[in-house]
């Protein structure tokens, strides 16, 4: 009987605990759900569906793996020009053309598009042959554009206004205004990635290039063939490999200088902020608050302040990382210092070592693995931060990326930069991860 009495409250307590746990198990998902409902309306997600530009998404995806070539006829003065992406640096020399364009005269061309579509330009008259539909005849006039269709109705893939006609099919796009006729043909790949059209090596296969590189007959008189190839790739105006490599390097430089600089500044400060090395409470307190302040102000604000003083560039980014991380490192280092083993320091002291020697041989070896591992971890995360900071201050790959996105047309370059950024971060991750694993396994002595 007495035993039963004793178990009763315990049972009640257990049941109460179960009830509470069950309530929490129900409440947590309910609270999260309620928060998401709030976010759904606070961020105006229903309105987002209207604002979202899916056509932009389509352009982005299509451009990331393909390029377009513009064939343009000047309707005022006559003459046909062909350029990749319509850019001057991708223009074909007069009289030359890709194999799907046949220049039939000064002012005439036959353009073959995929799926047997064909465009024939002869002076002012442009004929568009669409299989399964017929022949569309376009002609610029003084007022706008005249269009002759084989059917009475205008199909929905033709956008005709008085001053502009746009024909958009899977095969390509044709547009005519009074000023010019343009035919866009999409092709797969990143054109001119290695050699631009003005390079003698453009259009050569890998085997031909290898042969040329080995042959002693010079294509460009002033350089050996291999040298000329490297020169042409490096100075490629379309993809700007030189600038891109520099930008990547600048980004890594920012992260490296910032992280290492921060560690160097933070180490002596951390000694002064650690209880066992600094007896003055006020100094400790002041330094701790300084670390908190520097960390709290955050990289964004430091970047803004510093960019005013130093202007845009990698140094500004490096200094912003340096200042922000000094706070983080200072805090962590001083915590590590407070946990060191006093015995080793006493041992070094007993041999008559002066304070600086005590730190060097009694303390540093103990905290070195922790320190180095933290620094490496920061280095890898700062590679990412440097990309963002570069976008704000104007330096490194972050700047190139934002510039390419703002122009809203070179999406293949955006894709290229994104791939490079991801590769850069992954390489830094791998290197720092491997180094950290070696450090932690280490030789134990920590020297």
């Amino acid at each position: 009987m007495a035993m039963l009495d004793a178990t009763m409250p315990r049972e009640a307590a257990a049941l109460a605990l179960f009830r509470r746990k069950r309530l929490i198990a129900m409440a947590v998902p309910a609270v999260i759900l309620a928060y998401f409902v709030y976010i759904f309306f606070a961020f105006d997600l229903p309105g987002l569906a209207d604002r979202a530009r899916m056509d932009n998404a389509k352009i982005l995806v299509a451009d990331s793996y393909s390029y377009k070539t513009h064939v343009t006829r000047d309707n005022r003065n006559g003459g046909i020009s062909i350029a990749i992406e319509g850019e001057a640096k991708g223009a074909y020399a007069p009289g030359t053309a890709p194999d799907w364009v046949r220049l039939t005269g000064e002012d005439a061309a036959i353009i073959t598009l995929p799926r047997d579509h064909r465009v024939e330009i002869a002076g002012d008259v442009t004929r568009v042959i669409v299989p399964g539909y017929g022949e569309i005849v376009l002609q610029p006039t003084a007022r706008g554009v005249d269009m002759d269709l084989p059917t009475p109705d205008v199909p929905e893939w033709i956008n005709a206004a008085s001053n502009r006609v746009m024909i958009t099919t899977d095969a390509g796009r044709i547009s005519m205004t009074r000023a010019r006729t343009e035919v866009f043909r999409y092709s797969f790949g990143w054109e001119l990635f290695w050699f631009t059209l003005d390079s003698p090596f453009h259009g050569k296969s890998l085997g031909e290039l290898a042969g040329l590189a080995l042959s002693s007959e010079r294509v460009v008189p002033e350089r050996s063939n291999a040298g000329a190839m490297v020169h042409d790739v490096w100075n490629n105006q379309m993809w700007r490999h030189k600038d891109v490599v520099w930008a990547i390097f600048e980004t890594i430089l920012m992260a490296f200088l910032g992280t290492m600089g921060a560690a160097l500044v933070a180490l002596p400060l951390a000694f002064m902020a650690a209880r066992n090395f600094m007896s003055l409470g006020t100094v400790r307190f002041a330094l701790r608050r300084l670390f908190d302040f520097v960390r709290g102000v955050d990289g964004l604000i430091w970047t803004i302040i510093l960019s005013r003083a130093f202007g845009p560039g990698p140094l500004t980014g490096a200094l912003a990382i340096l200042i922000t991380d000094t706070g983080g490192f200072g805090k962590m280092f001083s915590e590590a210092l407070e946990n060191v083993d006093e015995k080793q320091i006493e041992g070094v002291q007993s041999t008559g070592a002066k304070p600086l020697q005590r730190y060097r041989f009694g303390v540093i070896p103990q905290i070195m693995p922790i320190l180095a591992s933290q620094v490496l971890y920061y280095l890898e995360s700062n590679t990412r931060s440097a990309t963002v900071i570069g976008a704000i201050t104007g330096g490194g790959i972050g700047l190139l990326l934002t510039q390419a996105i703002i122009t809203q047309k070179d999406w293949e370059e955006v894709t290229y930069y994104i791939v490079l950024i991801v590769l850069m971060v992954m390489v830094m991750d791998t290197v720092s991860g491997a180094l950290r694993r070696r450090l932690i396994k280490g030789d134990g002595s920590g020297h």
Partner: protein
């Protein structure tokens, strides 16, 4: 006897010699590494300095110019500051909301991803490397890349930033969570399996209760980081307090009181959430 003594003496001598040689070699390596490091730092600094628009030595004198301008203007209009802070409160809340929503979304995705990529717990053990690489990819893409691309599609607003930060968070937390999962006891899981629980039930009832405090602790730390990230993304064009800061900052003199108010708000928020998450993390880790 005498032979033995000399022999021992010689061995000692040899040991000492080889030890000294080792010390010398170690010092030499240390010296070389040190010299390399110093050379890298100095040349790196000089290079960064030369590629910067303004030089380090000419800029160092101006470092306090901008803060003092801001402070001076804020000092003149100090009565306006509280009003300005109230004015920017909605954007601040948006920034915090971006951080909170993305941390939650990211953490939820990270839980699933980490469970799918932990040996012994995974639903499809053969797919473990796939999910690991997926998390590596998500971690490697800086938020700004996704945010900028999404801004192009969705227009400016908080959603691109939220998605961008959530993707990065899922990758970063997923890795940490799967490290936690590896230390979870498999006994509850086996027990549940023996009574016929499905995979999702085994995870929710057998694993999550064991690891929830650690998850929460990492999640709080991530929230702290994400507040900073969401402020920065705002500066690049996705709403919140960062966007207001950019506007006020590029306006220049005349709106420095707004800059000061935003600085204060941002600083206060970051410190507040740092302290809050630090407090709860200590409590959580203490309980474990």
């Amino acid at each position: 006897m005498a032979d033995a003594i000399t022999a021992t003496g010689m061995t000692t001598q040899r040991v000492q010699d080889s030890y000294m040689q080792m010390v010398r070699r170690k010092r030499m390596y240390g010296g070389i590494v040190m010299a390399l490091f110093v050379a890298l730092m100095v040349s790196g600094f000089m290079l960064a300095d030369s590629r910067n628009a303004g030089g380090f030595w000419s800029g160092i004198g101006n470092i306090f110019q901008f803060p003092s301008e801001v402070l001076a203007e804020a000092g003149e209009k100090i009565a306006l500051l509280p009003g300005l802070m109230v004015k920017f409160l909605p954007s601040l809340i948006e920034t915090i909301n971006i951080a909170a929503a993305s941390t939650l979304l990211g953490a939820l995705a990270a839980i699933v991803l980490s469970l799918l990529s932990t040996r012994g717990l995974a639903l499809w053990p053969a797919m473990i490397p796939v999910f690991r690489r997926l998390m590596d990819m998500m971690r490697a893409i800086p938020e700004i890349v996704i945010a900028l691309v999404l801004i192009f599609i969705m227009g400016a607003g908080p959603v691109p930033a939220m998605i961008a930060i959530a993707i990065h968070t899922a990758g970063a937390l997923g890795k940490l969570f799967s490290e936690v999962n590896e230390n979870a006891s498999l006994k509850p899981v086996e027990g549940l399996q023996s009574v016929g629980a499905r995979w999702s039930q085994r995870m929710v009832l057998g694993v999550i209760p064991q690891v929830a405090p650690n998850y929460l602790s990492y999640g709080l730390l991530r929230f702290e980081i994400n507040i900073r990230a969401s402020a920065i993304l705002g500066f690049v064009g996705s709403g919140g307090i960062g966007y207001d800061l950019k506007n006020a900052f590029s306006w220049g003199q005349g709106r420095y009181d707004e800059v000061a108010a935003i600085f204060l708000l941002l600083f206060g928020t970051i410190v507040f959430f740092d302290q809050l998450s630090g407090h709860y993390r200590n409590k959580l880790v203490g309980r474990v």
